[in-house]
Amino acid sequence: MGLTENVLIGFGVALQPINLLFCFIGCVTGTLVGVLPGFGPTAAISLLLPTTFHLDPISGIIMLAGIYYGAMYGGSTTSILVNIPGEAASVVTCLDGYQMARQGRAGPALGMSAIGSFIAGTFSIVALMVVAPPLAEAALKFGPPEYFSLMILGLTLLGFLSSGPMSKALLMAGFGIFLGTIGLDNLTGIPRFSFGSETLIDGPGLVPVVMGLFGIGEVLSNLEQPMKREIFETKIGHLLPSLRDWIESKWALVRGSIIGFFLGILPGGGAVIASFASYAIEKRFSKTPEKFGTGMIAGVAGPESANNSAAGGAFIPMLTLGIPANPVMAILLGALIIHGIQPGPFLIKEQPQLFWGVVTSMYVGNIMLLILNLPLIGLWVRALRIPYSILFPLILLFCLIGSYSLKNSLGDVFVMIIFGILGYLMRKYKYDTPPLVLAFVLGPIMEASLRRSLLLSNGSPFIFFQRPISVGLLLVTFLMLLSSIIPALKKRREKIVVEISD
């Protein structure tokens, strides 16, 4: 079947009234999550995951995906108006967006952010439609050795792209791999590290772990300091950017969309890194880099288009290889598995309705979000006035209900609380949580691939070096590790990390 037929199948699914409704719910929730500081899309998706258990899987995934890319749209509102990023991918938008608001140009900043997000979102969906099917075809050639090498590359990338020291990120990855081994061994049936606990016999669940790390951990981090939230009193005015704004932003939009898409695909890359990378590149390309941070519209257009494009790109490895690129994709992967759908190279062929339905719904969702974020901006600004003292008990309650309702087990709730405290401490001591979550998901796949590979080769580890794709992947891994040791390249990486943390 050609691309056109597939797209038509997709629109046939996405435009069904029930799917339109869930797409709308996802987009509204996502925008709200993006607008409200201290509540990210990862926590929101894990909170709403249990609500999809009784839904048709396509509707459920459409809604959860809507929350993810919707949050990318909404996140810029708080960055521009309050100087507090609604979610991590909008941190960099604060730099110029808030300055624009202070100069009375909040309208064009919000407008450029929404329109840029729409352009980049559309670009990434089209790219996803074009890239995913051939990639899935290629992935059919992947055997256990290729999967194992891919996991090794993914985990190395996590360390390479993390915002802190590589050793800390890889330490987190190691702990994530360990967590993935807790519970019954699928091959031998031996319970590992469960210490006789009924909850741990199946291993700690992905949802309680993610809810704890991202939901409870975030609430505790926000509560440790008094939260000041001052909305800059300014007239938002006309939202459409001027011709001059467009001229200044056009290349930022193009570059942001392309960079975002490719960084979105990489494990550990995602929207946050994409937005920072785009900002750094715009600064480098600008004739007046010193003006960045004083209200340059390119500093809003680039990162906002990059984070939206990354949100689309992140679906590629999850839908074609069954490998999540970031914690949100890890939860979506979990959601598909709960619904009895195995993401991977066969998904597009076996579940065309789901794949094309979800992808085209993202296009429909982007149009919804443009409408929600431009004319209704006043409504979202009003949502900012919800006091955190009312908001945080609701987040905690949703976390409690969400983890309990997975298996009606209080054990999962305990796991969530423990990971909540751990997540808070990890934030405090500057240990990245995404490598832990991704390694937790990738670890069991890696273990299974390793064992199958060694069975195939009668115990010879050379099997990983005899197959071209596997060798290629390991070579990239090796070069990446080498680059972190070679002083010149190490300095360059550290410079990027410093730029990001600044």
Binding site: P50, T51, F53, H54, P165, S167, K168, L170, L171, A173, G174, F175, I177, F178, T181, D185, L187, T188, I190, R192, F193, I216, V219, L220, L223, E224, Q225, P226, P387, S389, I390, F392, P393, L394, L396, L397, L400, I401, Y404, S405, N408, L410, V413, F414, I417, G420, Y424, Y429, K430, Y431, G443, M446, L450, R451, L454, L455, S457, N458, G459, P461
Partner: protein, 150 residues
């Protein structure tokens, strides 16, 4: 972060060491067939190596600043929230969702969020009833009923 990294990496090293030493109990297997303990064993070694690296980096980083991580922290709020969640979990099955949730939300809004009595009671009543209707009645989540049957 220097001093904090030294402390945290030591704790991680101990965790890694425990995993490495405990994992062989599940059989490490052979080269052709790794056993159940192999992957946790490997993960333990991984944790030990990278925690040792973090320790060494922090140790040799003489210029690194020591941030005061625990200064001006509202410990009361953190302890209240963590304890209230644990107590809620402990009583949820016995007392039931509605009553437990009412007290949890009231406590959090009033004592942690410092809102007035009226707002706190109203917030707690509305949240517990609406969340019950949403999750139990509409989404059939089977929330615990407790000894009172609701």
């Amino acid at each position: 972060m220097r001093r904090h990294d030294l402390i945290s990496s030591t704790l991680w090293f101990c965790t890694g060491l425990f995993i490495t030493l405990y994992a062989p109990q599940f059989d490490l297997g052979t080269a052709s067939m790794p056993g159940s303990g192999f992957m946790p064993f490997l993960a333990g070694i991984f944790i030990c190596i990278f925690s040792a690296l973090t320790f060494l980096q922090a140790h040799f980083d003489k210029e690194g600043k020591t941030e005061k991580l625990w200064e001006n922290i509202q410990f009361r709020k953190l302890i209240f929230v963590s304890l209230s969640l644990l107590i809620y979990t402990f009583f949820l099955d016995i007392v039931g969702f509605l009553i437990c949730t009412f007290f949890l939300i009231f406590f959090l809004i009033h004592f942690v969020g410092s809102e007035n009595w009226l707002r706190s009671v109203l917030g707690a009543v509305l949240t517990s009833i609406l969340s019950y209707l949403l999750f139990d009645t509409w989404l059939k989540a089977q929330l615990p009923k407790g000894i009172f049957g609701f």
